[in-house]
């Protein structure tokens, strides 16, 4: 959390000017947007280059590459914000406890299931079609945050707090156990209620896809469209990230969290209730994960008890990519990883003539990135080089 600390250590006490607050809040978000644009452009250039290299053998390749490019970028945006919001939960907990909360992917999943359950309940009552779209989104976000946040705090109390001070592997193994328990308890609940194992996530009608603009490639115009759900997901994620940055960088509470992350013992000497702050960190991280789960479930259309595992793993990768413990890093890492994955998933089969299915190898790409990062730059994109981090 060194990046934030630098900005805010100057004012000792009292009020800060509005400009300063805005800078601390929007600075990280701006940095993230920079990476959004940067990775989109960089990866587009890479695929264009790859297409040009092969163009001798396959003349239509460039047009096909550009045709799907806008959709790939939108897909990358969604994935990127998904990973960013989940990665924040990992990175905040890691910052405070130096511990990988393995069960965080399941906290995310629970948010999705809660959202689906709300939709199902509304549909059963006959309200679903009548609820305004925005209200529905707010409802699932709030409920998802509530349930997931509470769950995360409970998990910390039950399974992690008794193990504080134990060797590092002990809480990690406990977290793996919690992750398995949450998966199966959710499965039990889902299969014994009308939700079922693969629950459909019904939503009110959000209208037809929004046509952004048309591209003229070759002989026919290609419309660039974004689905309303993707738009909702991305804008809600941006709002949440801004609020989180405000909370962490511009409030007393945030200062307490950062102090606890820096040095738990000293923070407690300064009158910070460390246990409370740790609970709070789990609450915030869990709530973010839950909201992301609800939104993502809505975006995808179905939820199941195992849907949190792989995104959780990738979000962890994103957190490491950005520099674990660093909040801005988690957002940036999520964005970069999301774009990378979207590009691999869409272009791998195109460039290899359908020999490799991109969707399957996108997972491998994510894990390879994790391994490469850990070997060559263990402190991550934004982390500071320390030997103790890894």
């Amino acid at each position: 959390m060194a990046a934030e600390a630098k900005v805010t250590t100057s004012p000792q006490t009292g009020q800060r000017s509005l400009a300063e607050v805005l800078r601390t809040v929007f600075g990280p978000v701006g940095q993230m947007l920079l990476f959004v644009v940067g990775s989109a452009i960089a990866l587009s250039l890479v695929v264009t280059l790859l297409a040009l290299v092969q163009i001798g053998a396959r003349p239509d390749l460039l047009v096909r590459t550009w045709t799907i490019l806008p959709q790939v970028i939108i897909d990358g945006l969604v994935r990127g914000f998904l990973f960013a919001t989940i990665a924040l939960g990992y990175t905040m907990v890691y910052g405070v406890l130096e511990f990988i909360n393995f069960a965080h992917g399941e906290i995310f999943m629970v948010g999705g299931v809660v959202g689906a359950a709300v939709a199902l309940a509304l549909a059963a009552a006959g309200f679903l079609a009548a609820v305004p779209g925005l209200l529905f989104v707010l409802l699932i976000i709030v409920l998802g945050m509530l349930v997931s946040g509470t769950l995360a705090v409970t998990v910390e109390r039950v399974a992690y707090r008794p193990l504080r001070g134990a060797p590092r592997l002990v809480p990690l193994i406990s977290a793996i156990g919690v992750s398995l328990v949450l998966q199966d308890v959710t499965r039990l609940i889902m299969t014994s209620t009308p939700l079922g194992f693969n629950a459909r996530f019904n939503t009110p009608d959000f209208g037809s896809p929004i046509r952004l603009f048309e591209m003229n490639l070759g002989d026919r115009p290609v419309p660039v469209i974004i689905s309303p759900k993707a738009l909702i997901f991305v804008s809600a994620a941006v709002v949440m990230l801004v609020v989180l940055n405000y909370l962490v960088n511009a409030t007393r509470l945030g200062k307490a969290i950062r102090a606890t992350a820096q040095d738990r013992a000293t923070a407690s000497l300064m009158g910070i209730n460390v246990n409370q702050i740790i609970s709070l960190t789990f609450l915030i991280g869990g709530a973010l994960g839950g909201a992301a789960g609800a939104l993502f479930g809505m975006y995808v259309g179905t939820v199941n008890p195992y849907m949190g595992f792989i995104p959780g793993l990738k979000a962890f990768t994103a957190a490491v990519l950005g520099g674990i413990g660093n909040i801005t890093g988690a957002m940036v890492g999520g964005i970069v990883l999301g774009f990378l994955e979207a590009f691999v998933a869409s272009y791998l089969s195109l460039f290899t003539g359908g020999a490799f299915s991109g969707a399957a190898y996108a997972d491998i790409a994510a894990f390879s990135i994790l391994i490469l990062i850990l070997i060559f730059r263990p402190s991550g994109l934004l982390g500071e080089a320390t030997t103790q981090k890894v």
């Binding site: 008794p162 193990l163 193994i173 406990s174 793996i176 328990v181 793993l313 490799f356 997972d363």
Partner: protein, 459 residues
């Protein structure tokens, strides 16, 4: 002697009364003539019960568990080596196979348990000895299994039509090859993660395990190597040995499938013995001590001149090699493998064995593997039948709840509870518990068991 007794009296608290009784009971039954009588009688009753009542039932289940417990108790007892070795050998080499001819289910459970004992011992090298948490251990198992599955079946002609499957007799060299390939993959995984600390290592190994599974699932295109999600079927088994001897000389009329069960039981038993010997020799060697030093404090270990890189790689290689060899046996025994066989849950399963038994403890890993396998194959299905009966009788249990489908729940709870209440496991590693109780000196070998010595002298 009197001084020791008084010391014990001082240390004794009222709550320790029952513990003392238990201690005495253990001393009487664990050594000398008491032990011979106890184990002899126990073995006789168990064998008699299993032989006269071999049908699969709750009763047989209980006696089967008691039988395995007996084997373990004999193995752990303080009786002379000839008695321990002899009785264990009789139980495992004579009683178990004969019981297996009467009921094929239980010998299959025993074989599976054996496979997982070897895997747990291998993982124990990595996690317990060297302290490197490996969540992708099943990947090495998968590599061994796919090695034999691809090369022994017509699957290989998919890669290159000119190649032909290896003859089934090559099974034996392939077990050794599995060992080598496992070690190679262990080093491949070990190299990039050498610098990582515990929790990062866990995630990277988990990712590695997933990568291997995804590869197995998707390498049916562009070249069909693994046959993708369909898996590989009709994997070759080695030709049977001693068929004529058993059928004609001994006059036992066993079918081929029964003979294969016996065959794999013995193959697995041999590998398990080999693994136990290798792992216990390693543990007390310079290498084992170097691993422990790295586990306790890496910086201090390096300062003492321990070659960190070599030792860590060796831990990965040794651990992975057992899994590779067992993979070959497993593929051959199961006849069919597919990618979901090697998912993360399997890795967690093996980890749960090691943790349940006690990280770093060899008997602990064996016990953990047997308990978890029994839970998986025997106790959960049995619970499922009991629950279904209860459901029919009108007890309100969710219809969807089938205990065999909820292994994750079980292992999850197990992991959390073990970490909170007994992180050292059921049978903790001695050196670790010595570290934990460094204050009170353990009673030395000569002075401690006066009762047992008296018993030994009178016999």
């Amino acid at each position: 002697m009197a001084r020791v007794a008084s010391l014990q009296n001082i240390r004794m608290t009222p709550t320790a009364q029952s513990a003392r009784l238990w201690e005495q009971l253990r001393t009487y039954l664990g050594r000398g003539s008491g032990a011979y009588a106890f184990f002899g009688l126990y073995a006789a009753i168990c064998t008699w019960q299993l032989f006269t009542n071999p049908r699969t039932s709750l009763r047989t289940d209980i006696f089967f568990v008691l039988f395995l417990l007996l084997v373990f108790m004999v193995y752990r007892s303080a009786t002379p080596l000839w008695f321990r070795g002899g009785l264990t050998a009789v139980l495992l080499v004579v009683v178990m196979p004969i019981f297996g001819t009467l009921n094929p289910f239980y010998i299959d459970v025993a074989t599976q348990a054996g496979i997982f004992v070897a895997l747990a011992l291998g993982l124990n090298v990595v996690v317990g000895f060297a302290g490197l948490l490996d969540l992708g251990y099943v990947a090495f198992f998968a590599v061994g299994a796919y090695l034999w599955a691809i090369l022994s079946t017509p699957q290989i002609t998919q890669i290159n039509p000119a190649w032909s499957p290896v003859p089934p007799i090559m099974f034996y060299p392939f077990v050794v090859l599995g060992l080598v390939i496992g070690a190679v993959f262990g080093i491949l995984l070990g190299l990039p993660v050498l610098r990582l600390r515990g929790d990062y290592l866990a995630i990277v190994t988990l990712g590695f395990g997933e990568v291997i599974r995804v590869l197995a699932n998707n390498l049916d295109r562009p070249i069909n190597i693994t046959n993708g999600s369909q898996g590989i079927r009709e994997i070759e088994r080695p030709p049977l040995i001693l068929t004529n001897f058993i059928r004609e000389t001994l006059g036992w009329n066993l079918s081929d499938s029964q003979l294969y069960q016996q065959f794999f039981y013995f193959v697995v038993l041999l590998i398990v013995i080999f693994t136990v010997v290798v792992v216990s020799r390693l543990k007390n060697s310079r290498i084992g001590r170097a691993w422990e030093a790295i586990r306790e404090d890496e910086t201090a270990a390096v300062a003492q001149g321990i070659p960190r890189v070599r030792m860590k790689l060796m831990a990965f290689a040794v651990g992975a090699s057992f899994a590779g060899a067992m993979g070959v046996v497993f593929a051959s025994k199961q006849l069919f493998i597919n990618p979901p066989t090697f998912d993360l849950l399997r890795s967690i399963n093996i980890l749960a064995m090691v943790i349940l038994g006690g990280m770093g403890s060899i008997p602990g890993s064996i016990l953990g593997a047997v308990i978890v396998t029994l839970l998986d194959l025997q106790i959960l299905p049995r619970m499922a039948t009991v629950l279904r009966d209860a459901q029919r009788a009108g007890v309100p249990i969710p219809a969807a709840f089938d205990p065999t489908q909820y292994q994750r729940l079980l292992f999850g709870i197990l992991l959390v509870l073990m970490m909170i209440f007994r992180p050292q496991g059921i049978l903790p590693d001695e050196r670790r518990s010595e570290e934990l109780h460094a204050g009170d000196e353990p009673p030395s070998e000569e002075e401690a068991p006066p009762a047992a010595r008296a018993a030994a002298e009178s016999s």
